[in-house]
């Protein structure tokens, strides 16, 4: 075997473990889900194998699923916007801070050391009827009776922002940290105010990081299941909850498979659009 041939083979040899893992743990199970989506649920007992379009027809034409999907995308969009508005100043502050940048980044990562479910449940102790906020307001004489703050769409979004904000901050930070600060000085020397320098130099250069963080937050928020269960009211379901209910509660694995694939396709299209205009390289940089 020539050196060229050996060198050509080397990347594939190195990639083999990862490709095997992706194939066995992602592609093959996904194929099972695709096959299952064309089966039918029987009234009791095993499902009916075959090629039936009933589940797809129901998932695509039933307004119930469409409405919940749109509501899910709306919640994901609001969450992403809130993360961007809250995350940008934080990321800017970290990137421009001198000396204590590492400490701030460690502080940013700290929440990941605690289970996501525990972090979500902590809002019950903060916003609950006998939680910290109500107790403090009663003690201060601001209110006489506790206010009902939990179990609505706002608390679902709050929980999601709490969960996703570090992802947004990290992505924007990576982008801001790579910008040469001399550019801002150059803008100032040319007569721009600090605000103009930020708007016309720093912000445009950091947009790829903002977009990468936005995509991550949006996809993760749209696929969330546990936050609406813990912090939502009776009506505050997201699409992943419907998948869970179809598969777990209704034991309708074929319909659940079709619904999960529908969500995957919708989010996949969004990722493709992102890739078309911004490329996946920035996302990899942000995650790295």
């Amino acid at each position: 075997m020539s050196i060229e041939q050996r060198e050509a083979r080397q990347p594939w040899i190195l990639l083999t473990p990862a490709l095997t893992a992706v194939t066995l743990l992602l592609i093959v199970p996904l194929m099972f889900i695709v096959v299952y989506s064309f089966w039918l649920k029987s009234a009791a007992g095993a499902d009916t194998p075959g090629f039936f379009l009933d589940n797809w027809q129901e998932a695509l034409t039933d307004s119930f699923y469409r409405d919940i999907l749109l509501n899910t995308l709306k919640i994901a969009a609001i969450t992403t916007l809130a993360c961007a508005l809250l995350g940008y100043p934080a990321a800017y502050f970290i990137s421009r801070s001198k000396g204590n940048k590492l400490i701030l980044l460690v502080l940013l990562m700290l929440p990941f050391w605690i289970s996501y479910i525990i972090r979500t449940m902590s809002w019950i102790n903060i916003l609950g009827v006998s939680g910290a906020l109500n107790s403090a307001m009663i003690w201060l004489g601001i209110i006489n009776e506790p206010i009902q703050m939990l179990y609505n769409q706002t608390t679902v979004i709050l929980g999601l922002v709490h969960f996703l904000l570090p992802f947004m901050v990290l992505n924007i930070f990576v982008s801001l940290d790579g910008i040469d600060t001399n550019l801002e000085d150059a803008a100032s020397s040319l007569g721009a105010t600090r605000w103009q320098g930020f708007l016309q130099v720093t912000l445009p250069l950091s947009l790829p990081g903002l977009a990468a963080g936005g995509l991550l937050c949006f996809v993760l928020a749209a696929g969330t299941y546990i936050t609406p269960v813990i912090l939502g009211g009776p009506r505050d379901a997201m699409f992943a909850n419907l998948v869970y209910e179809a598969i777990i509660r209704q034991l309708d694995w074929p319909l659940g498979s079709a619904l999960s694939l529908l969500l995957l396709i919708v989010l996949g299209v969004l990722v493709l659009i992102y890739n078309r205009y911004l490329g996946m390289a920035q996302l990899a940089k942000g995650l790295g």
Binding site: A44, G45, F64, P234, R235
Partner: protein, 381 residues
């Protein structure tokens, strides 16, 4: 010849130069792969042989704690067989897990309701108990046994273990006993308590209480439209559907809600903790019996031994007192002590004629449609 001997002979051939290094490692790899592949099937073979552990899945919280403390730990001490106890938030979730598992992966489940027994049977997940290995079954109330025998007349896959009700739990600071008795199930759709009402996000419970709220027989709902309207009304006045016993207890204890339907044992546990929570079983309150169901592919002898141990009078009473649910033991045959007769839903006659249980044929027959419909109704449809 055992595997160790085979390996030693192979290594000797390699060391003597009879086989190449490549062949030696190739054969070792093949042996490893063959062992790995045969494991799922070996599990079934092992089921009949030596067993070092049995898996038990239950409802978590105080219920699982009582099992661990009063049944599993003493059983392990006595037999050396370890009991791995898992938990699940609901029967539907657990059934989905069992369906997706290998035979023998899940062994004994603390299932609720005869309808669950029937569902496992319909999915061909039922085993066949050898009752000769469970002599303590003789002390179980015939009424509980007969419910299972109506589904599998020739054999049993489960031993009845306890029973209880899903009645009305209410905060006495805000709702008096008189008001509760006067309003009954309709208090769950009372606008007066809007935002302070809870409910289990389980379609059966929702429809059962909707039947009571619309004056219908829960085992024969004629006007389903009216029942669904009642479910919608409850949804509109409810703060939250709770998803587990722990969440039910937390919502009541923290006064997030004043009234909900609740599991009798969990409410009793709250009362014992000092919370001023009342419990009322309205007429035709949702009665249920729980069993120790042995899933197909399990090590039967070990499971039967564990069940017999759990049905022992002392164990059963200790667990029942810990869980606050009356045991399946017949009170006319066994002295159940002082605490158990005070538990909610306890029936001193041993006939359980005062409780209304879900008709498995009726509820399982409507499961596909009603579970799906509830998914929509709870989302505002």
């Amino acid at each position: 010849m055992d595997d160790t001997k085979r390996y030693e002979r192979l290594r000797e051939r390699f060391q003597n130069g009879d086989i190449s290094r490549r062949s030696f490692f190739g054969l070792l790899g093949a042996a490893g792969a063959a062992y790995g592949l045969q494991m799922p099937f070996a599990r079934q073979a092992f089921a009949a042989g030596d067993v070092s552990q049995v898996r038990f899945d239950g409802w978590g919280g105080v219920v699982s704690e009582a099992f661990r403390k009063f049944a599993f730990d003493p059983y392990t001490e006595k037999t050396g067989i370890k009991v791995i106890d898992g938990t699940f938030p609901g029967g539907d979730e657990y059934l989905a897990l069992v369906r997706a598992s290998q035979p023998g992966e899940y062994n004994i489940a603390h299932l609720s309701g005869v309808f669950d027994y029937a569902r496992y049977h319909s999915f061909d997940l039922n085993s066949e108990l050898n009752l000769a290995n469970i002599p303590n079954m003789a002390n179980v109330m015939p009424a509980l046994m007969n419910a299972f025998k109506s589904i599998t007349p020739d054999s049993l896959s489960a031993a009845p273990y306890n029973y209880g009700t899903t009645g009305l739990a209410y905060n006495r600071k805000h709702i008096s006993d008189e008001e509760m008795k006067e309003k009954g199930a309709k208090i769950l759709i009372d606008e007066k308590y809007k935002g302070k009402i809870g409910g289990w996000g389980d379609w059966r419970t929702r429809m059962w209480y909707a039947a009571l709220q619309t004056g219908q027989d829960p085992n024969d709902i004629k006007d389903t439209d009216a029942a669904w309207d009642a479910v919608r009304k409850h949804r509109d006045v409810a703060l939250k559907y709770w998803a587990s016993g722990a969440e039910l207890m937390s919502l009541l204890a923290e006064e997030e809600i004043y009234v909900t339907e609740g599991w009798s044992g969990r409410i009793y546990a709250l009362q014992e903790q000092g919370h001023d929570i009342g419990y009322y079983d309205p007429p035709q309150s949702f009665g249920w019996q729980e069993c120790l169901f042995v899933i197909k592919g399990s090590p039967m002898a070990a499971c039967e031994e564990l069940i017999n141990f759990m049905l022992d009078k002392d164990t059963s009473i200790a667990v029942a007192e810990g869980q606050s649910y009356p045991p399946a033991l017949d009170p006319t045959k066994v002295d159940l002590g002082e605490k158990i007769p005070k538990l909610p839903a306890f029936d001193p006659t041993g006939t359980l004629s005062g409780l209304t249980f879900a008709n498995p044929a009726y509820w399982n027959g409507n499961e596909a449609d009603w579970s799906k419909e509830f998914g929509r109704v709870q989302r505002g449809y």
